[in-house]
Each structure stands twice: as C-alpha cells, then as structure tokens.
Symmetry: C2
Subunit: 191 residues, 2 copies
Amino acid sequence: MSLKRQELIDTAIHLFSQHGFHATGIDWIADAAKVSKKTMYQHFRSKEELILAALRHQDGLFRNFFMKSVEQISSQPYARLLAVFDVARDWFADESFYGCMFINAVGEYSHGDTAIRRACQDFKAQMADYILKLARDAGVKQPEALAHSLALLLEGAIVTAQVAGDAKAADTAKQAAKVLLDNALLDKPPG
Amino acid sequence: MSLKRQELIDTAIHLFSQHGFHATGIDWIADAAKVSKKTMYQHFRSKEELILAALRHQDGLFRNFFMKSVEQISSQPYARLLAVFDVARDWFADESFYGCMFINAVGEYSHGDTAIRRACQDFKAQMADYILKLARDAGVKQPEALAHSLALLLEGAIVTAQVAGDAKAADTAKQAAKVLLDNALLDKPPG
DNA sequence: CATCAAGTAAACAGATCGGTTACCTCCCGA
DNA sequence: TCGGGAGGTAACCGATCTGTTTACTTGATG
C-alpha cells in the first residue's frame, strides 16, 4: 500500500465531501495531496476509479467509526439502538460535516447502474445490517420492521442536518426512535 | 411570461434532476429546450440564475402537487397525515424519480451561504410547515414534535428510495408514522 | 559507480465549460 | 414601406476539464 496512494484517497474524500464530485477536478486533488498527476494516474486509471476508491475507503472508515462510537456509549442493546443518534449528533456537529458522502454521490450519479451507485448501495445496506443486528440484540418482536424504521429516521436526520445546518435533527430522530423502540418491545399483537 | 423562458425552466428541471447540476451544461439545456444560447442569456444572466429559477419553479410545482394529492386522498386530518406517505410512494415509483431535487442541490452546493442553498432550505421549511399544519389539524398534544419526526421519516424515505431504488421505503415510513401518530394522540404525560 | 524504479514539474492534447458577439431572418406595428 | 425588437446560427473567447507525455531529479540497491 503506497503512501502516495493513501494520501490521494484521503485528499479526495475531503474534497469530494466538501465540494462534490463533478466540481472537484483531479488537478486540484493532486495539488492538495502534493502528488503529481503522473503518479496519480499510475495509481488510478481514471477519475471514476479514484472516486470508487475514495467511496470504499470512506465506507470502511465511517462504519468503523460509527460502530465503535455506538458500542463505546453503552453495552446494553436497548441503549445502543438509541446511541446511534447520539453518535449521529456528534457527527452532524463536526465543522467538516457536509452530509453523507454516499447520498451526495448518488445525487450526482443517479443515472443507470454505475459502479459508483452500487458502492453507495453497499454502504447503506451494511449500515442497515448493523442497525438490524442491534435490533435483534434488543430482543424486539419484529426486528426487521424496527430496523427499517430507525434507518429511515437516521437518513432523514442526516439530510435534514445537512440542508438546515442543524445538528439537533439527531435529537428529534432519537425521540422518535425511542417511541418506536418502546412500541416494538410490547407484546401486544398488531392492531 | 415568455414561452421560451418557461420551456428553458422545464427543460432545466428535467435535466438537473436526472443528471445533476454541474454535469448538465447550458449548451445541453438550450439544445434540449430548442432555444438558442443567446435567447437563454436574455432570460437568465448566468447558469446560477437559471438554477435558481428552476428550483423556485419546482418548489411551487411540487408543493402544489403534493398538497393536492394528500388532500384528495382524504378529508380527515388523521388520514391526511398518513396519506403523505402514500403520495410519496407514488412519487418514488415514477420512472422519472431521481430523488429530491433540493437535497441533490445541497449536495452539490453545500459550501457557504449561497442563494441555491437558501432556496433549498425554504422548500424544506415550507414542506415542514405543511406537515405541522396537518399535525395541528389532527389534534395531537405536541404537534411540533410529531411533525418534526414525520418530516424526518419522509426525508429518510426519499433518500432511501433514491439510493436503493425501492419505492417501498414509503410503506416502511408510513408504518412508523402510524406508530408515532397514535402515540402522540394518547393523553398520557411524557414519561 | 551504474542502474533502475519512482517521483516531480510542466507542457501538451482534445474536449467542454460558461458566456459573448457578429450577422442574418422574420414579423409586427406605425 | 420601413424600423426595430426578438430570435436563430455559428463562430469565438478564455478557462478548465480529463488524461498523456516528456524531461529531469531522487534514492535505494547491486
């Protein structure tokens, strides 16, 4: 694993997140990473490959950060499900928060079945799987339904925090999540 | 109101939604609208002005479509709050659904306090106001809290439908919304 | 010291970007 | 009949885009 390659990916993640994909030129990335374009094109055949590498790296990076943060807040399944939104709040409050890189990527590459789109779908699917796992651990009756709902709340909080620039969207989501979670823990049949 | 101008705005909305803002060149828009660049620049001083005009037009167009659709489904406040997600489902299922134009715009112009960003915030604020009005009509105890939660569910459904390409996200959101709504209708004090 | 891989800076290519302009046509009203 | 505004065509501008190439420097290894 080359150091230059990693520097390029890190820089690309930063610039793509902040300015978008089409608006960020490769000259800009190479300059910011202090790497010549020649070296850059030795590591990545095209801009699209650099985008894909950036998305995949961010995928691992973010999910690792997210899961570790959640599991550090509490060891109890119930609390962990709600801790998801505490972690989200901290994420939103970061000065370098420009929304979810994958949502933004789909917004720019929504056409057809591109590899970029698939990378974003993979990320979202893995995040959904993690929430589902937490729901199962919490012992709710229908973990799939609850997990899907909580995932929607999380996505909604992300875009709301991005558009309105307000990290408190995470708190709103957490309150709603608590209602849904408590409801899912009841034994009553669905009426 | 010029016919050419309207044709340009309609074409711009279509192309921007489908391909994004940076990826859509003005030559392309002018060609598709069958309008010369000269005429285009007589109506809009710059690409940014065309983007703003497109966003504002889509704002009115979409909100009108959305509210009329909701109010056509039912006249009862309770049902209308849930009908929001039925309308969303139809929207997602449309073949020309490429996510929320305003969310996508913020993803590309997330930097600073641009007019584009503000136009998107206005749209989202007005949609939130409408949901709040429905919540008030439904007579819940804390309409603000419920409306914020339902708005998050709607946003989450939009991006999930966009990324995963699955209109069923609206159904999941509707089920969660029903739980939240029923909970908000109870008289019990917050515990 | 010779060699070779890896790096840099810089020019370059061809296309496209947003935006402007010169020139022609057409139509409508005085 | 004539003037003027609206619109179209097409060339053009400088800048920037992705991607390639050239010429030079560096550093480690034999």
